[in-house]
Symmetry: C2
Subunit: 337 residues, 2 copies
DNA sequence: ATGAAAGCGCTAACAG
DNA sequence: CTGTTAGCGCTTTCAT
């Protein structure tokens, strides 16, 4: 592997001169500059980032710790993070917590060992309000942008998130406006703050419209299509007399809708179905899905912007991004009678 | 930031002793071991991976350079890579070439500067058979696993890929078996080897069945749903008298199908449509899509396995993974007459 | 079982 | 404009 010394020897100059040339420092004669440049090129020199970092204490490395990169939402965010981090000269270390605390801890600690300058975090849901790893992150002085809701142990960090409650509220309001009065809710994981916020948005919208929130219309689902199918089956089993179904996310909504189809029901004739998130292909669903678009790519862009500001030492405040209702074919007025 | 020296001073031992304890080297008295361990823990010591790497010349870092992380296929692969790389103690550096040569070069060169031990690569299509960056990779001795087809300039690397020709052949054979004789093909980007292979598979299947390959049935599409819609519109405009449409991938197939729906046509009554890839939610499409499942997650697992072997210095040979036809609702017998 | 010295490849600080 | 010295935090090597 070619080092600075090797070039220096070849060029008959000191290591420092070579170092300066390759870093475009001023105060180098044009002659040596071109000579050294040519030599470096020709010898195939590639700087050793570790040596540089060790000396300069700047790694230009950022970590993204995410529960699951295959989650449609995470993917859009990663797209933005990766693009922009590259553009401002940072490399991105990606690791998955798989929603397990022990694994998240390892991911974070490994990144700390690499002295990453910043973290994009999507903390694993936990009941325990203490989180020693997060304290370590703080102590190391790494900049942190939380993607999504901010759990108690992340109080000192900034975050950027979609306004989940608002989004779910818009979805519910849309159903109410169509004339629905009995709107079932297929809820998400009880430990997920995002899911909780969406539920809260649903409840607020109902109350605002003067409708009671009937516990008999709340069904525990989860995050996946399978979860949605199960919850919908349970709902039909309990003959809850709902005319519309709001799901915590698009996957659950699509699962519920699929079960309705399997039972010979029609959408939106028999049930209106609304999701949340506007994942790719939700518009291509068997019934194009009415949902709330959440600007996940924008969220990623905002996160990078905040990270840049943090790294420049600026004050940064948290951000809340609104979603927009996308009305497609899965919602309509309730059946007369 | 706590260093080994700091712990050494506190413990009243040498740096070496601390280093040895923390690396679980033998020949350390139980007493010092526990004392140093406790101190390190208590002081919040986190090793400096750069210093370690600089000294040991092992970075435990692997790069994944991919055109676009949001591509449904790339996502499944990343899922596997990230999971398994973590499990065998490697961190993953992810960067996107966005299918641009200049950007790919930067991504690779940055990774080289970080002295990554290996690369997972999805080379950007190029006509130029020379690729200087790839020579650099070779010179640096980084291990490489190519994900997908192997371009000429990657001759010296191993690769793992889905058998695209076989997959497309199965799709075509399925249509032929249903009785279709005029099968249109919506092709992908002409520079994409994977797309070429799929086209080749389609042609071979037709010839094998004694059908002529009619150039009038080949339509240039691309990779996206929009591309599929345009190609389908063109096909209808030319009244090509096809009874079935095979697309280079699921997105294009879904685009074509969407256009057919928009024109009031029915699937599979008026046209059978088959895709390739089995992307998530292709089963939830307006007509559940018949396609060829390609084991992208398995492909990722295989890639990591090959990487591990390469890093152990073993001989590794390239692999070709088969796909399996998934018959759903978008294909059926051609309309009588 | 422990320590001292040297150096991985680079750059900050100072000297000339 | 260029060079010398020192040191980033760690581990290898050799000595004790």
């Amino acid at each position: 592997m070619v080092r600075l010394v090797d070039i220096a020897r070849q060029a008959g100059v000191s290591v420092m001169t070579v170092s300066r040339v390759l870093r475009d420092t001023p105060d180098i004669s044009a002659a040596t500059r071109t000579r050294v440049r040519a030599l470096a090129e020709q010898m195939g020199y590639v700087p050793n980032a570790m040596a540089q970092s060790l000396r300069t204490r700047s790694t230009r490395l950022i970590a993204f710790v995410v529960p699951n990169v295959a989650d449609p939402m995470a993917t859009r965010i990663l797209l933005a993070l990766s693009e922009r981090a590259h553009d401002f000269g940072r490399d991105l270390l990606v690791s998955q917590s798989l929603n397990r605390l022990d694994r998240e801890e390892i991911c974070i600690r490994r990144a700390l060992a690499r002295r990453v300058e910043g973290f994009f975090l999507q903390p694993v849901y936990r009941l325990d309000p203490s989180a020693p790893v997060y304290d370590e992150v703080r102590r190391h002085g790494a900049k942190v942008v939380v993607l999504g809701p901010k759990p108690p142990f992340c109080e000192s960090f900034v975050n950027v998130q979609a306004d989940e409650a608002l989004a779910a509220g818009e979805a519910a309001a849309h159903l109410i406006e169509l004339g629905h009065r009995r709107i079932a809710f297929l809820s998400g994981p009880p430990t997920s703050p995002a899911a909780q916020n969406r539920f809260e948005g649903y409840r607020r919208a109902l109350r605002k419209a003067g409708l009671e929130v009937d516990d008999g219309l709340i069904f525990h689902a989860g995050e996946s299509m399978e979860d949605g199918m199960k919850a919908a089956a349970q709902m039909l089993g309990e003959s809850a007399s709902a005319t519309a179904v709001q799901a915590v996310n698009d996957q659950v909504a699509m699962g519920a809708a699929t079960l309705f189809f399997d039972r010979g029901l029609r959408i939106p004739r028999d049930f209106s179905v609304v999701g949340c998130g506007n994942i790719p292909f939700s518009e291509c669903f068997r019934v194009p899905l009415t949902t709330v678009r959440q600007p996940k790519y924008q969220l990623g862009l905002a996160a990078v912007g905040m990270m840049q500001a943090l790294l420049r030492g600026e004050e940064v405040s948290s951000r809340l991004l609104p979603g927009t209702l996308v009305v497609r074919a899965s919602t309509g007025p309730p059946r007369a009678g």
